[in-house]
């Protein structure tokens, strides 16, 4: 119980810090506008692209696009948020070394910071879906017992976000500030390979299969299946939601083991090479 209490305590502190950093620079209204402008803009780009080509004809592709985009936001923001915490706290605030030598585990610390991003992203994603519902006539045709599958799938998929976030955070412990663009650009990789805005089988051959092994792909298509009745990646079309959930859990476990080991290895190497408090900004 002591361990759980400490975990929750550490998590709560780092979440509070993350929330303050994200939101404390301006008043609540401006913060809301700022939080919505970016994701809504990227959603609208996709919607406009879609509407131009389909010449305003709404069909079953639009809801898939909207849900895919709404969920991809989580991938981009949580991944980047956790990874960028390392750079920001190390180079700008110069507090990473103090966190490192404190009893707070870096693991919990990053989870808390990532969770702050997760919550902020939830607002944006929710708004995108509501917008689609009100203005674009996007209608949900959920499966039976969606109310059971939705929270479970959301939870399990969300875990995969943090797992991937740890991977990039681990990388950032080892590289300079300039190399952090790797993390920023990684969102592009996920956009491409997870079927967020088009089915992964749009790509020929091997590329079309890579996405199956990324948890976010299963997550996004599983959520589509739950809310719309079906996904749009051919690999998952005939797969039951239970099977998709099992796949997601297994992939999460595998990734977690590998990335957990990698993360600890990165910390060890960073400590060995004196990179915990390196300053590459000036």
């Amino acid at each position: 119980m002591g361990i759980i209490k400490k975990f929750l305590n550490d998590f709560k502190s780092s979440f509070y810090l993350g929330w303050k950093i994200e939101s404390n620079w301006t008043d609540p209204l401006l913060f809301l506008i700022y939080s919505l402008a970016k994701p809504l803009s990227s959603a609208f780009i996709l919607i406009f692209m879609y509407m131009i080509i389909s010449q305003g004809q709404m069909n079953e592709m639009l809801p898939h696009l909207i849900i895919g985009n709404a969920l991809h936001l989580y991938t981009a923001n949580v991944l980047f948020g956790m990874a960028w915490t390392v750079i920001d706290d190390r180079e700008f605030y110069e507090t990473l070394k103090y966190v490192y030598i404190s009893p707070v585990s870096m693991f919990q610390f990053l989870a808390g910071r990532g969770f702050a991003k997760y919550l902020i992203t939830t607002i944006s994603s929710f708004i995108i879906i509501i917008f689609g519902f009100i203005f674009l006539n996007v209608r949900f045709t959920p499966i039976a017992s969606w109310y059971i599958y939705f929270p479970i799938f959301l939870f399990v998929g969300s875990i995969s976000l943090f797992i991937i976030g740890y991977f990039f955070a681990g990388i950032n412990f080892l590289i300079s500030r300039q190399g952090s663009f790797l993390t920023q650009s990684a969102a592009g990789v996920f956009l491409l390979l997870t079927g967020a805005i088009f089915p992964i089988d749009t790509f020929p051959g091997f590329l079309g299969k890579v996405g199956i092994y990324i948890p976010q792909t299963i997550w996004i298509d599983g959520m589509r299946k739950i809310l719309l009745g079906d996904g749009w990646n051919s690999f998952f079309i005939n797969m039951s939601i239970n099977r998709m959930l099992s796949m997601l859990i297994i992939e999460n476990i595998i990734y977690f083991i590998i990335i957990f080991l990698f993360f600890n290895f990165s910390l060890k190497i960073a400590r060995q090479r004196g990179l915990i408090d390196q300053r590459t900004m000036g």
Binding site: R279, T280, M281, G282
Partner: protein, 324 residues
């Protein structure tokens, strides 16, 4: 303005707006700094030293009063001032980590229009003087604090300024490097007539060693301005003693009768050093008896000349902590 004066302020004031109320960082500052002198500004953190330097270096506007550097108004003639001054701050991290020492210095020299050939010559000369020639091609992100500060000082003098502002230049440096910096300052001043340095510091020995005149500043006001010797003469009628005492760890010295002022500094092994002033030297035995009766054992004592620290305490009314 008189040509023999480098810096002049007339009722200079600066106010900062805070969330609640205002902070008066400078209040009616009137100083004249002569050409060719090293002028020291001594004071604790928050005294107003850096605010004054920022106004004089045109980084900050005064809220009231006037300031002139080399005869030019800091508010309206900034370009003329900037051509003739430079500034080096303690703990400075300016520059680009990706560039080497030589490259950083060259880059800054270009902002003063120094021809590249001349800049390279001067850079090489100063790198040698400061013992940095082996690190000339090291990226500055790899430099230690001391090496970085040496590079900063070279940056400051490369443009051959008529007035050099040094804002705590030896802050955080080890004894050896601080000594090197101070030696260089003296040499640099002698090299060319008419150079002026305005130095802020809260290292008393540094001010004592380097400055022709010192202004003691606290809470935005100048409390005294004179040569170091002149300042110490303020205490000519005060007899200063310094005693080293042994005590039990729970004992604290809260009062000391017959003294006008006293300070307590902890030493190693539980000992303490007490410095005090008395007006009647006959009372010294009574003081020793008082200490003994209150559990303090006398280890050593000596009579001493007033230091700048004593002057500071006398003028400002509080102890000057060098690690403040």
């Amino acid at each position: 303005m008189d040509d023999s004066i480098s810096i002049k302020t007339e009722n200079l004031g600066r106010i900062y707006k805070k969330e609640r109320g205002v902070l008066e960082a400078l209040k009616n500052i009137n100083i004249n700094v002569n050409r060719g002198e090293i002028f020291g500004l001594l004071g604790p953190n928050g005294a107003g030293k850096t605010t004054l330097i920022k106004i004089l270096t045109t980084l900050l506007l005064p809220s009231s009063g006037k300031a002139y550097v080399l005869g030019y108004d800091v508010e309206t003639e900034t370009l003329k001032i900037r051509e003739k001054i430079n500034m080096v701050s303690g703990g400075e991290w300016a520059g680009y980590g990706i560039l080497t020492v030589r490259e950083n210095l060259w880059m800054f020299s270009q902002f003063y229009g120094i021809p590249t050939k001349k800049a390279k010559r001067e850079i090489d000369k100063y790198l040698e003087i400061f013992g940095l020639e082996e690190d000339a091609n090291t990226k500055i992100s790899k430099l230690s604090t001391g090496m970085r500060q040496k590079m900063n000082i070279i940056r400051g003098i490369l443009s051959n300024p008529e007035v050099l502002f040094l804002d705590e230049p030896t802050l955080g440096l080890d004894v050896q490097i601080a000594r090197t910096v101070r030696s260089f300052i003296k040499v640099w001043m002698k090299e060319k007539e008419g150079r002026t340095i305005l130095l802020t510091t809260h290292y008393l020995n540094e001010a004592d060693e380097l400055c022709n005149r010192i202004a003691i500043i606290d809470n935005g006001e100048i409390h005294a301005l004179d040569t170091p010797q002149g300042l110490k003469k303020i205490l000519k009628n005060k007899i200063m003693y310094s005693v080293e005492l042994e005590r039990e760890s729970y004992l604290n010295l809260k009062e000391l009768p017959y003294t006008t002022k006293f300070t307590v500094n902890p030493l190693k092994d539980g000992k303490i050093e007490v410095k005090f002033q008395i007006q009647d030297e006959n009372k010294i035995v009574d003081i020793f008896n008082y200490l003994k009766n209150n559990g303090f054992n006398l280890v050593s004592f000596r009579k001493r000349e007033p230091t700048l620290e004593d002057v500071f305490i006398e003028i400002v009314g509080k102890e000057f902590k060098e690690d403040e």
